[in-house]
């Protein structure tokens, strides 16, 4: 049996930082288990920046202002002690990363460069051109190689083991040869990223952002928090949901509906295209619903009036992106776009150390929820979250693992996983992963997407239950052991359905509109009843049970969120 002091599941920024923080002390064995290769994790797709009040661009910036911006951006659902800690420690982790070789861009004085970002009162997003997530991820991987972190590449975790008192390890599948393994570990850190893929074809997320860690935790009896909050980005490409950054609108791009009307004057006549993300997303959705979209319900981001020269000079990368991924040259025709599910604010419930209620089990990054993002995440805070809480989880797990012996692992740990795979492979039925997955994406987009209301959400709850029932009958066609991506996709779908259920239930229960959660039948924020976190655990009947916990208010009293 494989044995590690600390096992990290997931190899994005949070997982790799946790591994590094745990390995720096050198006395413990640390491994990262990932269903891809570490440098392929979705942290690499973050382009814009990582927030830290270094004051390099604006010396007047302070971590307290960053704190306030974060809390306000969260629509006051963030725990203020957690947000405080994150903003206070931010300069430290960014500098640590820079000391490890991360190639940030530079100011004229040779310091880390910073740029303005949506929702931030001062320029504090540290950047490296438009690839800051990519260089951060590679830096963390490189230092992990240096510090002797073990990597299990292309392994998928199937279950989390604990006895209610403490963590025992995991059961995982080696995708390459189809073999199951039990890995004994004193501490397990779940850092598997978000679950934007529950909206399947309507997300900016990678194919693999299927919320595996959150689903593992939920099945193991751990509570998930604030699952109803999913951030939508207004301008994803029509076909793929890949993001066209806000910069295109900042340069003067117009949003047109299928009739060619500049429709934002109906929704935000002053700010027009530069209104806040949630508002622009809702405007686009309304146009499409009321039949004013293009042939496929899309709207258009038009840059043609800027002229070819200006596009080539100011927006060359956005132009290339549209040509490569959509087959459209924005210098010649409008870009077809749709709002796209972008970021999961909710996740595995943890304390400030990233620890779950079961000692030894941790979560960090988008998979976890401390919560620092509340109902709506600020741009540049996701990369910061993974650094801060990846590091904290790694350090706490190190102390914990030093203080305990190796746990006993149940001898039949693998049996359930083996059964699960066997059921998926045996027999025959007409249900396919692709079919159920597509239905799930459509259901979530239609009934639990940008706009939500009671009737739709009730239908969504029933719809997800039906999909789960169809999933029980799913049989995969591919029976090979070698690199069976059909099997992996089916396992991922099982995870997504689990989480989709919690998203729609949380959304139905929350009868208010806050941040990314927008109820047409309850358009106002309701602090009296809903200034609290939703927690969801699997009840003894196998059904989710919702309960609530107060939000930590340390300094800032909730007020209206206006920009």
């Amino acid at each position: 049996m494989l044995t590690y002091d600390i096992l990290i599941v997931g190899s994005g920024g949070a997982g790799l930082y946790a591994a590094l923080a745990a390995r720096m002390a050198e006395d413990l064995r640390v491994a990262v288990l990932t269903k891809v290769y570490p440098t392929r994790s979705h942290t690499g797709a973050a382009q814009g920046g990582v927030n830290a009040a270094l004051g390099n661009k604006d010396p007047a910036d302070t971590w307290e202002q960053h704190w306030f911006d974060t809390v306000k951006g969260s629509d006051y659902l963030a725990d203020q002690d957690a947000a405080e800690l994150m903003c206070r420690e931010a300069p430290k982790v960014v500098r640590e990363l820079e000391h490890w070789g991360c190639p940030f861009d530079r100011t004229n004085e040779g310091k880390i460069a910073q740029r303005p970002f949506g929702g931030a009162s001062r320029p504090r997003a540290c950047y490296a051109a438009d690839k800051v997530g990519h260089v951060m991820l590679h830096t963390l991987y490189e230092q992990g190689l240096r510090r002797g972190v073990d990597y299990f590449n292309e392994w998928m975790t199937l279950s989390l083991l604990h006895d209610g008192e403490r963590c025992q390890g995991v059961v995982a599948l080696d995708i390459r040869n189809g073999k199951l393994h039990t890995i004994q570990a004193k501490a397990v850190i779940l850092a598997t990223g978000g679950h934007g893929r529950i909206f399947w074809n309507r997300t900016s997320n990678a194919y693999g952002n299927t919320g595996d860690g959150a689903a593992l935790a939920y099945r193991a009896g751990l509570p998930l928090k604030d699952m109803e909050f999913m951030q939508f980005h207004p301008t994803g490409l029509r076909r793929t949901g890949i993001l066209v950054t806000e910069g295109a609108r900042g340069e003067g791009g117009h949003l047109l509906n299928g009739l060619g009307e500049r429709f934002m004057n109906r929704y935000a006549p002053e700010k027009m295209e530069l209104g806040p993300r949630d508002m622009v997303s809702r405007a686009i959705e309304t146009e499409a619903r009321e039949g004013r979209g293009g042939p496929e319900g899309e709207v258009f981001l038009d840059l043609t009036h800027l002229g070819r020269e200006r596009i080539l000079e100011r927006l060359p990368q956005i132009r290339q992106l549209c040509i490569d991924f959509e087959g459209v040259d924005p210098a010649q025709e409008p870009i077809p776009i749709k709002p796209t599910a972008h970021y999961s604010m909710g996740g595995i419930h943890t304390d400030l150390h990233g620890m779950t209620p079961v000692p030894g089990i941790y979560a960090a990054g988008e998979a976890g929820c401390v919560s620092v993002h509340g109902a709506n995440r600020l741009g540049g805070n996701s990369l910061l979250d993974i650094l801060i809480f990846g590091r904290r989880a790694g350090i706490h797990a190190l102390e914990y693992a030093r203080s305990v012996d190796f746990p006993a692992v149940p001898h039949d740990a693998q049996a359930a996983a083996a059964d699960q795979i066997k059921t998926l492979m045996d027999g025959d039925s007409e249900e396919t992963t692709a079919g159920i997955r597509r239905a799930m994406g459509n259901l979530m987009s239609d009934k639990a997407g940008i706009y939500r209301e009671e009737k739709g959400l009730t239908e969504a709850i029933a719809g997800v239950a039906q999909l789960k029932e169809r999933y029980q009958r799913l049989r995969i066609r591919d029976n090979e052991l070698t690199f069976n991506t059909d099997l992996v996709a089916a396992l991922e779908l099982g995870n997504m359905l689990e989480l989709a259920d919690l998203v729609v239930r949380g959304a139905q229960a929350r009868t208010e509109s806050r941040g990314a959660h927008s109820r047409e039948d309850h358009p106002q924020r309701d602090d009296e009843h809903w200034l609290r976190h939703t927690l969801a655990s699997r009840g003894s009947d196998g059904e989710p049970a919702l309960y609530y916990e107060p939000v930590v208010i340390a300094r800032f009293q909730p007020e209206a969120r206006a920009y």
């Binding site: 290769y37 797709a45 000391h99 793929t240 995969i476 690199f483």
Partner: protein
């Protein structure tokens, strides 16, 4: 006055020919043909996923971010190594003037299944390059309260290499890996170079040694890596730069560096390379065997071999160029020391 938007979108019925292979189960690779409508905007990856979802769920390939940043989905389309996710298929079908396209796995690596290859060899080679920054205390403060100061210009000397997503397209296209599987490949040497010129690093000597051990001088500068790199990181250029810094650092006694030094010195002296004597300059006394064999060959053809090199007219121009370059390099060095 507004005008309704009518986007132009086309469709072509295409034949997609894909290499299939499960080592151990199949005796040899074979091809499957799939028919489907390819439309405007469809990437190669979308086509693969469409086929997997609708025609054959056992079709196996890697894909993750589908936005050209993770480097998972490298395959070859009509023999060219590329990222499936950022390659539009319709223009390729039109370019080749036929409605068929062939998709095969990356070259130079063993197939695990269908379009999935084993990339561990690349990761192993990379790991041997010390591919991480080792801090130099002159540049990086011990205290976490302080930043390391460096100019944007310094960042830019290696910044373009940090665009590398380890997709392996260059490795798949590399002529030297094809000839010698022990060769490190373009991306790994580029990574070694990136850290070796980072002013924050102190491990350059180890990395030069590691890259020499893994064939720094084996690259034939065919520049195929530059042509296929989806991120324009120009690996062959980094390899040239890495060779230069190894010589600058005083490593003059390898075959490659001897050859490079002989080339530059000869051109200054004679206005051309003293090719007849190159084997001895590069390989020492072992080179005589090669020279004698060449001479015998020439004699058989009735040609008179020569070991002398004549000075070409215009040699003074070359010498002046050398002097100018030396002057510039000296000035640069002084500037750097200041």
């Amino acid at each position: 006055m507004t005008e309704a938007i009518n986007p132009k979108r086309e469709k072509i019925l295409a034949n997609i020919r894909i290499q299939r292979f499960i080592p151990g189960s199949n005796k040899a690779p074979y091809f499957d043909n799939f028919k489907m409508e390819v439309e405007t905007g469809m990437t190669v990856l979308e086509v693969l996923r469409y086929l997997k979802n609708t025609q054959d769920s056992s079709l196996t390939f890697r894909a993750f971010c589908r936005s050209a940043i993770c480097g998972s989905c490298t395959v070859r389309v009509n023999s060219r190594s590329l990222l499936a996710c950022s390659t539009q298929l319709l223009p390729i079908l039109k370019d080749f003037g036929k409605s068929s396209v062939t998709i095969t796995p990356m070259a130079n690596l063993p197939v695990i299944r269908d379009l999935v290859v084993d990339i561990e060899p690349v990761i192993d080679k990379l790991a041997r390059m010390h591919p991480y920054l080792v801090e130099t205390r002159e540049c990086i403060p011990e205290a976490i309260e302080l930043e390391c100061l460096m100019s944007q210009k310094e960042v830019d000397t290696f910044g373009y290499v940090t665009d590398c997503i380890l997709c392996g397209a260059c490795y798949s296209a590399c002529s030297s890996v094809k000839a010698d599987e022990g060769y490190a490949g373009p991306l790994t040497i580029a990574k070694a170079y990136r850290f070796s010129v980072d002013p924050r690093d102190s491990f350059r000597g180890m990395r030069i040694q590691a890259s020499m051990d893994q064939g720094l001088w084996s690259c034939v500068q065919c520049r195929k890596c530059i042509k296929v790199c989806p991120k324009d990181t120009r690996p062959a250029d980094s390899i040239r730069h890495m060779r230069k810094i190894s010589i600058d650092d005083g490593i003059h006694d390898t075959h490659g560096s001897r050859r490079a030094i002989a080339y530059t010195d000869d051109v200054e002296r004679y206005g051309q390379v003293n090719k007849p004597m190159l084997p001895v300059v590069v390989y020492g006394t072992k080179g005589w065997t090669a020279i004698e064999a060449a001479e015998t060959g020439l004699q058989k053809l009735g040609l008179k071999p020569t070991r002398e090199v004549c000075t070409l007219p215009g040699q003074e121009v070359a010498a002046r160029l050398y002097a100018a370059v030396r002057k510039r390099e000296k000035a640069k060095k002084v500037e750097k020391e200041l």
